[in-house]
Amino acid sequence: MYCHNPDTIETSGGTEYKIEELVEIALKMKPYFGKKGGVTVSGGEPLLQAKELIPFFKRLKEEGIHTNVDTNGRILNSFAKTLIDEYADLVMLDIKHMTEEGYFALTGVSCKETTFNFAAHREASGKNMWLRYVLIPEITSKPELLHAMGNYFKEFKTIEKIEIQPYHKLGIHKWEALGWEYQLKDARENTPEELEEAAAILKKYFKEVKIN
């Protein structure tokens, strides 16, 4: 309900690209990737197209390009598993909320457990993962929620870092342009102190905490 790319939520529409066209675009950008750059599929939810992403990532790996999936972990079918197990160098997993009610309130679906299962699957594969967490004042910023997240994930060995995404309202105009009602109008943006406090809590549990 606060996605900053609401124009990417709709599952129909958009521009269709052939895989080779996308690979070509990636190759044109490859000189700029440096040591850490690469291709990230994001959304919306990229795993809705997991089957189609497999040959794309396969080609990227052939070209020596780093691959990354930015997902909410709500889909874990056999295609999604193949994609992340075999072809994704990195998974960035978005943790929406640590309680089922909170998760539902934010997303309109009950998928908290699916996201946790996704994390467990990635952990079992032994491959790199980052967590991402949007810090919304009063909604996801409560210290008990942060401690709960820390406790839940602290034993995970594949988590390299957690990124705190400050809550911002940049997406509002896009929602309005789509004629939708922005549903978190009343939430405010974080203060720098709030961000630091949240980071301090998470540092007790994670190797690296970054405020984006």
Partner: protein, 741 residues
Amino acid sequence: MKTKKFNEGIWNETINLRDFVTRNITPYHGTYSFLVGPSEKTLKLWEICKEGTKEERQRNGVRSVDTEVISGINAFKAGYISKENEVIVGLQTDELLKRAMKPFGGFKVVEKALSEHGLKPSDNLSELFSKYVKSHNDGVFDAYTDEIKKYRSLGYLTGLPDNYARGRIIGDYRRIALYGITRLIEAKKQDLAAITGPMTDKAIRLREEVSEQIKALKEMIAMGKAYNLDLARPAENAQEAVQWTYMAYLAAVKEQDGAAMSLGNVSSFLDIFIERDLEAGIITEVEAQEYIDQFVMKLRMVRHLRMEAYDEIFAGDPTWVTEAIGGMLADGRTKVTKTSFRFLHTLYNLGPSPEPNITILWSESLPQNFKNYCAKVAIDTSSIQFENDDLMRNSRGSDDYGIACCVSYQELGKSIQFFGARTNLAKTLLLALNGGRCEFTGTQIVEGIPEYTDEYLDFDKVMANFRIAMKEVARVYNDSMNIIHYMHDKYYYEKAQMSLIDTNPGINIAYGIAGLSIVADSLSAIKYAKVKPIRNEKGLTIDFEIEGEFPMYGNDDDRVDFLASNAVAEFNNELKQLPVYKDAEVTMSVLTITSNVSYGKKTGATPDGRAQGIPFAPGANPMHGRDCNGAIASLNSVSKINYDDSKDGISNTFSIVPKSLGANEEEQIENLATTLDGYFSRNAQHLNVNVLNKEMLLDAMENPDEYPQLTIRVSGYAVNFVRLTKEQQLEVITRSFHESM
């Protein structure tokens, strides 16, 4: 402790700065943590300078002018800012920020510049120039043909150095510090003796030139004496090396007011002296930084007397004291030294500034710590630019070069260039659609182009006509350049700068083009969409209707990017067919300075949908707002222009908002350094980097006094944003600020 002796080599036998630097340089791979803040003396001086520049702004851009004395190496007595605080001395006149008349480029220009401030030259001087003395400008107009005058007044050729000094020549200012002037005079005397008969035009001219150079060297000794400096001998320590080098540059900017008078690449040369004194314990880092801070401060205070019209092509009162920093030696070591860092650090010690025009010679092999520091400075100050050292060093053959003006390679002490401003390639394209007539006046400019009467424009027909137009414009351009440089040598020869350059230097004639992105997009529209010209009663195009989509330059689309690179190659090839004064090698640049605004005014509507009068994009930039596939796609398009077709430089000015470079400073630095690596690995040549938010610029327009040092890269140089005209400020703001990579 006594200082050590320098490693000896060829430089001891002949004048050879490259050999000295190569044998004695101490490359530095560390971080910037050794740097120190400004000394107390430096801060005191800088306060006075800031006060002075504030007064300058308040007095309509000129603090004071001398209307009696013609400037020259010894025209004024010694001037100081605050003598007891100055460790590096010397001003162009006897007073800080006082401008001087340099009328040999053109006396009318001096009169005009003075009258704009309610002043006039002394009666003596007016009489002298009206009756007895001839200027460069007088000479040029004696020789100009009617055809050239027509091309000039209608805006096909603009900004030509025919009424002001051409600049672009870089004296090898290091020579005085390393050798002392006595030794340089001896070398020039030997050269003179070797120029013997038969006395052809060439030999006579060269003998006269070398004799002039020797006079200039003698005048420099006298100038040094006025400041109690013995420039006849080599510099003996770091402070003297900096001082001697500055004196050499000062002689040049007292004698000449060339549009751009670059400094060269002095920083790592000076580092050799600084390292030696540091090692011997004679100085500490504080003094080392103090010398550089004060040297740079002096360079920031260089001024020339300019008329307002000049501001249209070179906005913001620039002087182009371009200093090239970094790069690699041919033997694989880096030219980065601690003094490379010290130069950059002046942008913190004294705050951001457009001058000196600091240019980083970027190589993939530069030490990572240096790359990161450069990226940091670019992000913090938007004051520096980057050029591809790997490309230029390998293509042009020397690792000892400076950047003339904005973007042009120039081997130091061995070569010069003849500045040629630029031609308007977009307006040239309109000749192809109008039977060779000017789209505004209907004046016949080019013969042999058929009237175009078809309802829609046909790509092949347009290209055939465009080729005829390019050939003719190149011919007239070449004629004008030959006249200009012949006359400049005759009436305003750069004797001080040339005395610090080898006697028979290589020369390249630096042509230029403006409007490249307009040409590329127009041709693309004609080829990939349907373009219908709207004509007035005289049959001249006044507008275009475009049906359908077409690819636009700046989106990494080969279909249109090829049209851009091809236009550059074809026009360069036309220029290469023509005979050049002094047998100079033909080079070309895609660079506009800030003339993209005035060129736009002088150009009618174009087939890409650009309306009449709208500014062009600067340099080789994609047109504002049309490069909408992110920063990398835009960079990739520009990188496709072949350097071999445009060896005088391909300028790209790139603005990005801080947050799209990264979430924090560390990420931003890493991403900018990686972007530069990526861009230059594709053989791109130049990049101006602005890391700014538009909102800040809008605020600066409203509240200029709060942003006295706000600096922004425009096209191969930087300006104080608040010194731009409102029109130019708005043009800068409408440029693409990339919000995504």
